[in-house]
């Protein structure tokens, strides 16, 4: 019985899933249970808890995330190009190097923007 790659991945993941779930379930069954308001408080180095934990921190990193989205797509294009690189005619290899060169300009600009504190 020959299985396709994806069904093999699915079976492997299923095996991992069963193992992990059984570990978690075993831990849940065997561990002690109970409620204690002091022990259940989130760890804050022994201090009394102050304020809400689910805050909106660190939005100064937002440009980095935007850059990730852009470069993700670019990386995808580069991979399809690299895959057929050796079989391409010379002119097209050369054109893509220009694309790579152009790529550096917005990268530099985005880093410049993300480095300016007054824009955060």
């Amino acid at each position: 019985m020959a299985l396709g790659s994806w069904s093999l991945v699915a079976i492997f993941e299923l095996v991992i899933l069963v193992t992990t779930v059984s570990l978690l379930a075993f831990g849940w069954l065997m561990g002690a249970k109970g409620k204690n308001p002091i022990r259940d408080a989130p760890f804050e180095s022994g201090q009394t808890r102050l304020g809400e934990a689910r805050l909106r921190y660190m939005m100064q990193y937002y440009p980095y995330l935007i850059m990730y989205v852009a470069f993700d797509v670019i990386a995808m294009f580069l991979f399809t190009w690299g895959l057929v690189f050796a079989t391409l005619p010379f002119a097209q290899e050369y054109l893509f190097l220009i694309f790579v060169a152009i790529l550096v300009v917005p990268l530099w600009y985005a880093l410049h923007i993300s480095g300016r504190r007054d824009l955060w």
Binding site: L24, G27, G34, P42, E44, R54, M58, Y64, A75, L103
Partner: protein
């Protein structure tokens, strides 16, 4: 036997079950490149790490459980399994459990396509490299969810830091491998290993190797890039509020990722199973993988931590540019007519 004759269907079921269990695919999934390999390697890696870090810091490390403390991971395993799972107030326990589970599944998934020998690969995918990167790019979101779900400031900050760090180092990591893809013209990991028969990719892709290795350290959240769990600032990062079996699963997932990443470096740059035939192929892969792991652990024992802005700038400016330079170097290499060395 008489009972089996009473139920004629049962004999066939048992037969087919035996057939499945002894089939090569099943053994591969459950034993060698699969589950057992992962679990044992993770146990061995935790011991190795503690021992090496201890040597670096002029200590002895685990000593009493088994010879040289080799059985220490098993003692830890049993201990953590019987610990209480504390759920902090207002934490989303279901989300935490689900995330721990997802983390382990994601961490182990690349093992499916990483070849541990000419014949030891579970699924020989044509898009193996893309599959590995696709799985790895799902990590940050899970870490952020754990940080969010555990309702603790330390966890949340750790999760956010993981997100930004892993996102920043993913792109240089992909682009550093592009040179290999250009030279071999394939995304199949086994084919990539076969292409290294003459020269390993560390030699022509030395820049790509440096970028990939650095990015791998950042992806693994290891020193010098272990900001998400900087012990002196953030306790244990996103793992702060996990306890008992959930903590164990999270910890196992991180070490599985460590093992997988070392195996990936071995496959892509260090010639995978290739080597003198005195040692069998799978053992070559495991040996090289642990060698890479030892280097990474030694780096952890030796280097200080970097600052967060330096981390992001290194990722985006230095490594990304170096990866692009590597692509240009590869293009020149092919133009010079050296491409045939690595074509299958």
């Amino acid at each position: 036997m008489t009972q089996l004759q009473v139920l004629p269907g049962l004999q066939e079921m048992v037969d087919s079950l035996v057939k499945i269990v002894t089939s090569r695919t099943f053994l591969e999934i459950v034993i060698f490149p699969g589950l057992l390999n992962v679990l044992l390697s993770v146990a061995f890696l935790t011991w190795l790490e503690r021992k090496i870090i201890a040597r670096v810091q002029l200590r002895i490390g685990p000593l009493y459980a088994g010879i040289w403390g080799v059985l220490q991971p098993i003692a830890d395993f049993v201990k953590l399994l019987f610990k209480e799972m504390i759920s902090p107030e207002l934490a989303d326990v279901k989300l935490l459990m689900l995330c721990a589970l997802g983390l382990m599944m994601l961490a182990a998934a690349p093992i499916v396509t990483i070849p541990f020998g000419e014949a030891f690969v579970i699924a020989n995918m044509d898009i193996g490299l893309i599959f590995v990167f696709a799985v790895m790019s799902l990590f940050p979101s899970v870490l952020l969810l754990i940080g969010w779900g555990s309702n603790s400031k330390y966890s949340f900050l750790g999760g956010l830091r993981s997100l930004f760090q892993q996102v920043a180092y993913e792109i240089p990591m992909w682009l550093s491998v592009l040179g290999i893809v250009m030279l071999t013209g394939t995304l199949n990991l086994a084919e990539i290993v076969r292409a290294q028969q003459k020269v390993w990719f560390v030699i022509p892709q030395v820049l790509g190797f440096a970028v990939f290795f650095t990015a791998a350290l950042a992806e693994l959240e290891r020193t010098p890039f272990d900001l998400p769990e900087a012990e002196t600032e953030l306790v244990m990062g996103w793992m702060t509020e996990l306890s008992g079996a959930a903590f164990m699963v999270g910890f196992m997932a991180m070490y599985t990722k460590f093992y997988v990443m070392s195996a990936l470096i071995t496959t892509l740059f260090l010639g995978g199973w290739l080597g003198p035939a005195i040692i069998p192929e799978p053992i070559w892969v495991v040996l090289k993988t642990f060698l890479v792991a030892v280097v990474i652990v030694t780096i952890r024992g030796t280097f200080p931590r970097v600052r967060v802005d330096i981390l992001l700038r290194t990722g985006w400016m230095r490594l990304l540019l170096l990866a692009l330079v590597n692509i240009v170097v590869t293009v020149i290499l092919i133009w010079l007519g050296l491409g045939w060395v690595w074509r299958v």
